[in-house]
């Protein structure tokens, strides 16, 4: 693996940032531009914010001698993706006041708001603070939002498992008070003149943080709705007659590749072993992070994720180092099986007879359209105060913990706003599809994704009908670039943007997220996409064995031989 020796500029910025403060306060006051100073653009990510610009408008703005239309995206830290109805109401209003208004449910169970201008950043974060919500470390070279199987109906121990998301998130928070100082005007801890004085002790991150982002996910078999193996660390709950025994620990997942960089690859996490007690569980996750901190590649960010660190060290050596740091050995992994990766749409009931309604939200975009007043509906539902809000790793939303007696009221609202109809009527393909954000806000997008996929699906559905495959719950995912935010590498049919209007077609991933797909055709335009799928479906229809899933068939038929 070739390596640049020089350490990456981001490393310098982090170390010099004086506890992630940098010159952010000055950047915010600079009124000649809507952007931040360059170094601060990297630092602000650690505060859960991204500087972006409206890419649709670049040319026109330049012609007008105006700078690009800069604004910011905020991503909340929401372990396990849970909001009280009160918090949803607050979020609804903050979105209306300070952002584009659209609420985006992400593939990691949290929400993003886009289009917040610089001067509105502080007010926005302060409003969130009053709702006891923050965006600390939702981005940056730190532990990201911890995901957890979303469906409480999954198992009686859901609540118990769910708590781990929060515990891990707290454990892995940076210790600096910068967030409180800069955004919430909290008293500065020490006198800024002496940087060392302000750099609060942070045994985990020190002043270097991690070489790269770090992701933890928790799954409750048999559903792998969080795509647990795509995380840097995956925890698989081991349950024995409704009792949580502990977790299998997997490490080294990551989906991103870089076009034309053969050293980069997508990888599923390797199951290392099993740990039982809470203490051991947290310790294991913690020490995996310290290994990545100490051994991770700090010169080439493209090769800095844990997956590369592990392969560089070798899985066994990595495990040994981990056990050394933990000062205990991991037990052999316990058996588990995943049978699905989907959301349970419609009404479900859990062991305590609480009700759950999962709403299909196409690509996680909550807004009102003339077809569907989704945003208004959710506000009305929240106002009843009778349902919690849970986000799924598939960008959908669960109205949760509804008491028997309250169900009729919720049902009535779902009907009134045709949410139930919208959810029922969506095809199996659409309900199991995801797309990342891409244009117009994502600076890395090469092609459209969430703005385009719906119309592409309109055109794929007829093909499935043609072959009587409409009931197949094929997992189709699209991303605007090979970073894989919509987890396209882990789909049965994956589209990866290469250039505007062009996508690589990947097939052969399995339904449960335990086998990645493989590139089958390069940069197809829409017409070629539809033609190719038509051919593939035709063969699948005639040659499939009973109940054989498209991903498995495709892998055997077109990939296996390659």
């Amino acid at each position: 693996m070739k390596q640049k020796k020089t350490i990456s500029p981001i490393e310098r910025i982090k170390a010099a940032s004086n506890g992630l403060r940098g010159t952010l306060s000055k950047s915010l006051d600079e009124d000649i531009t809507g952007a931040l100073y360059e170094d601060d653009q990297s630092l602000i990510k650690f505060h859960g914010l991204y500087q972006q610009d409206d890419r649709d408008r670049r040319e026109e703005r330049s012609e007008k001698k105006l700078e690009w239309l800069y604004s910011f995206m905020i991503r909340l830290r929401l372990p396990g993706g849970f909001l009280s109805p009160k918090q949803w109401i607050g979020l609804h209003h903050i979105a209306g006041e300070h952002s584009t208004g659209t609420i985006k449910i992400t593939t990691r169970q949290t929400v993003q708001l886009h289009g917040i201008i610089k001067s509105q950043l502080k007010p926005t974060l302060q409003s969130f603070n009053t709702l006891h919500l923050d965006s600390i470390a939702a981005c940056g070279d730190v532990n990201r939002n911890v995901t957890c199987s979303a469906h409480p109906d999954e198992s009686p121990i859901h609540a118990q498992v769910f708590q781990y998301a929060d515990k891990i998130s707290i454990m892995a928070l940076p210790k600096t008070r910068a967030y409180y100082e800069i955004w919430l005007d909290e008293e500065q801890l020490e006198d800024k003149k002496d940087p060392s004085a302000v750099a609060e002790e942070d045994p985990l991150y020190q002043d270097r943080y991690l070489p790269r982002k770090f992701k933890v996910g928790i799954a409750i078999p048999p559903n792998n709705d969080v795509d647990v193996l795509t995380n840097d660390v995956g925890l698989i709950a081991i349950i024995d007659n409704n009792e949580l025994k502990g977790f299998n620990i997997a490490a080294g997942g990551g989906l991103s590749v870089t076009h034309g960089n053969p050293d980069t690859y997508a990888r599923l996490a390797t199951v290392l072993g099993f740990v039982d007690t809470e203490g051991k569980i947290l310790k294991t996750v913690y020490e995996i992070m310290t290994i990545q901190r100490d051994f991770g590649n700090r010169s080439d960010r493209k090769l800095a994720r844990l997956k590369y660190t592990i392969d560089k060290m070798g899985v066994e050596a990595f495990k040994a180092e981990l056990e050394k740091r933990c000062d205990f050995v991991l037990e052999a992994a316990k058996p588990y099986t995943f049978t699905s990766r989907k959301d349970h749409y419609g009404w479900k009931q859990n062991h305590e007879n609480k009700w759950y309604y999962t709403i299909f939200i196409e690509n996680g975009r909550v807004l009102d359209t003339e077809k569907l007043a989704l945003k208004t509906a959710l506000l009305e539902l929240a106002k009843t105060g009778k349902a919690n809000f849970r986000f799924t790793g598939n960008q959908n939303l669960i109205l949760a913990d509804i008491a028997d007696m309250d169900k009729p009221e919720i049902e009535a609202l779902l009907q009134q706003f045709k949410i139930d109809k919208h959810t029922d009527d969506a095809s199996a393909l659409r309900k199991n599809a995801m797309a990342c954000v891409a244009f117009n806000t994502c600076p890395l997008a090469l092609a459209e994704a969430q703005r385009y996929l719906p119309s592409l699906i309109d055109k794929i559905e007829p093909l499935l009908e043609k072959y009587g495959l409409t009931e197949e719950e094929i997992i189709l995912r699209m991303t605007g670039c090979p970073n894989g935010c919509g987890r396209s590498p882990a789909a049965e049919i994956g589209f990866v943007g290469t250039a505007y209007g062009h996508y690589n077609l990947h097939i052969g991933g399995d339904r449960t997220g335990e086998r990645l797909n493989t590139k089958y055709k390069e940069s197809l335009n829409e017409e070629q996409i539809l033609q190719t799928l038509d051919e593939l479906f035709a063969v699948y229809k005639t040659e499939r064995t009973a109940g054989e899933k498209f991903g498995d068939f495709a892998n055997k038929k077109w990939i296996g031989i390659k």
């Binding site: 531009t33 001698k65 700078e67």
Partner: protein
């Protein structure tokens, strides 16, 4: 050749004189040298001290002042000591003491007095004075392409004769080439004075009359091609401000601070409506105020049919024999509401229509930076309500809509009162909205010529994201330190309105500091209310920071003005 100490003495001596006096001394000395007369003590021609002779000027863009100064020098050469004064400085109570009173005054706006003469103009119109002792004459500067040619001069002339004063030389109206006529007028003036003096004492030393100053070239028209025309405001803005680049074959003679004059064309739709309303033959050839041409051409290119003057509407009422209240409106509206009898009657109307006036646009480019065969302007689409409907200004709409490649004729309107100081002097530029135009020119010029003075710009508009005119350029100028600092006021990005003057208050101490250290202050943009609010704020800052009284602050600013360190380009 002249020793250090004597040189210093000379400097000390010269410093005690005003600019005007120096010009005179200069001419005086050259006179002595050329006449070979070098006997000492120098024989100074006996000046006419007995008579009180005032030469006053009212100016806006500096022509009248320069001219009057020139004339005063001529007079002094002949031993006639005329007291030269700007009308803004003139003590009105002195009128009763005047004997000879000569006025050089220009016309601005729509036939209005120049700013520096407003006080005087209003005074002589608001008061019925009796000034039989005064012998007077008026020299009016103007531009015949404006409907009310030399209006102010006419008014002043009329008022003084109403006051019982004696007009010793008839009113002289001058067009843009005023030098020759002006000097001729002044020779008559001098002639009169001398004649009167001869009566008194015979032994009057006669000095040869200098030839009138060489004629300065008159209004030169350029034909340019629209190279670029973009709306600088982004989507969602309430404004439309066009950045227009005009290219020419020949080099354009202009300096930063000048403006260009454009004569708009009337809108075709409107002309068609007028022709339909009156039934006149568009190809009929009619003699109008300045041109004789077909009705279509006159209405398109030569005659003003927008917002007719009250006086024009009065004439219209007379011709059509209708009762029309004192008002102003577009010809098309007038014809609709108070129709003409027939086409022939409309021919008569055409004859009373005033010429289409040029509109001025401050140049926003610099020859040094953008090349001398192109000029840029920054035009805001002018919008207003008329008869309860949203309407647009004629010229600004016309310019906003001219596509690339269109030919456009324009002339350069020099503004001597809005010029950059020496390269090493600091400048403070206050120019919200289109006020940015001359400052884009200033900054570009100073960048291109490597001027070392510091540059401070105050800009304001409604919204940061859509209305920050030339944002990219200003950012670059800051980067390269051509702009020392910039203060921005976006009025509608927060609940409370914020304007440039508010930003000035915030920077009061530093502003006063710059000024005390010799910085010049420039204001550009709309006259009302911007330039007034800014001026008041400036006075307040001078007062508070300088620990001065209101009066002292006003004098301080007046002093800056005299030194050419406080200049405005407002409209």
């Amino acid at each position: 050749m002249i020793g250090e100490t004597r040189l210093q003495q000379l400097h000390a001596f010269l410093n005690s004189y005003s600019k005007e006096e120096l010009i005179w001394i200069n001419d005086y000395l050259s006179g002595i040298v050329s006449s070979g007369a070098r006997q000492s003590p120098v024989h100074i021609p006996k000046t006419v001290a007995t008579k009180k002779i005032s030469l006053v000027f009212g100016t806006e863009t500096g022509n009248a002042k320069r001219l009057a100064t020139e004339l005063a020098a001529v007079a002094r050469k002949k031993g006639i000591n005329a007291r030269l004064q700007g009308l803004d400085q003139y003590r009105l109570s002195d009128l009763s003491k005047e004997e000879y009173f000569f006025v050089v005054i220009s016309t601005h706006g729509e036939g209005e007095a120049p700013v520096t003469a407003k006080k005087f103009y209003e005074y002589i119109h608001a008061n019925e004075l009796s000034l039989p002792q005064i012998k007077f004459s008026v020299l009016a500067l103007g531009d015949s392409s404006y409907p009310l040619f030399c209006k102010t001069g006419e008014d002043v002339d009329a008022r003084f004769s109403q006051f019982g004063a004696t007009r010793v030389v008839p009113l002289q109206k001058c067009d843009v080439e005023y030098e020759e006529e002006a000097h001729q007028w002044f020779e008559q003036v001098i002639g009169i004075i001398e004649k009167e003096e001869k009566e008194k004492d015979k032994d009057k030393a006669t000095v040869p009359v200098p030839a009138p100053a060489k004629k300065t070239g008159g209004k030169k028209y350029y034909t340019g091609t629209i190279l670029t025309n973009i709306n600088l405001n982004d989507r969602g803005s309430n404004k439309q401000t066009y950045h227009i680049e005009i290219g020419t074959e020949e080099a354009i003679e202009y300096e930063p601070g000048d403006a260009i004059g454009v004569i708009p064309q009337n809108r075709q739709k409107v002309i068609e409506r007028i022709i339909a309303l009156t039934g006149i033959d568009a190809n009929l050839i009619v003699p109008a105020i300045k041109h004789t041409a077909t009705v279509a051409e006159l209405l398109t290119q030569h005659l003003n049919i927008c917002y007719l003057l009250t006086s024009t509407i009065k004439k219209y009422a007379a011709i059509t024999g209708q009762h029309i209240p004192d008002t102003r409106m577009d010809l098309a509206d007038l014809l609709r509401i108070y129709p003409v009898k027939n086409a022939t009657q409309f021919e008569e109307i055409i004859k009373i229509l005033m010429p289409l006036a040029p509109r001025l646009y401050s140049v926003s480019s610099s020859a040094a930076a953008h090349g001398s065969s192109e000029v840029h302007i920054t035009v805001a689409r002018n919008r207003f309500l008329a008869l309860d409907e949203q309407r647009f200004g004629l010229c600004s709409e016309f310019l906003g809509d001219v596509p690339k490649g269109t030919k456009l004729t324009f002339y350069v309107h020099k503004n001597k009162n809005f010029k950059l100081p020496a390269p090493d002097k600091d400048i403070i530029m206050i120019g919200p909205g289109t006020g940015v135009a001359p400052f884009r020119s200033f900054i570009a010029e100073r960048d291109a010529t490597g001027a070392t003075g510091k540059n401070w710009f105050f800009f304001g508009e409604q919204h940061f994201s859509s209305d920050f005119l030339y944002q990219r350029e200003m950012q670059d100028y800051l980067q390269t330190n051509v702009l020392t600092q910039i203060d921005l006021a976006f009025s509608r990005d927060q609940p409370e309105k914020i304007y440039v003057q508010d930003k000035m208050k915030k920077r009061a101490a530093e502003l006063y500091n710059w000024i005390s250290n010799g910085a010049s202050v420039y204001i550009s943009g709309t006259k009302d209310p911007m330039s007034k609010d800014v001026e008041n704020t400036l006075l307040q800052i001078i007062k508070e920071q300088g620990g001065k009284t209101n009066e002292e602050a006003r004098q301080f600013l007046a002093q800056l003005d005299n030194e050419g360190r406080y200049e405005k380009d407002v409209y």
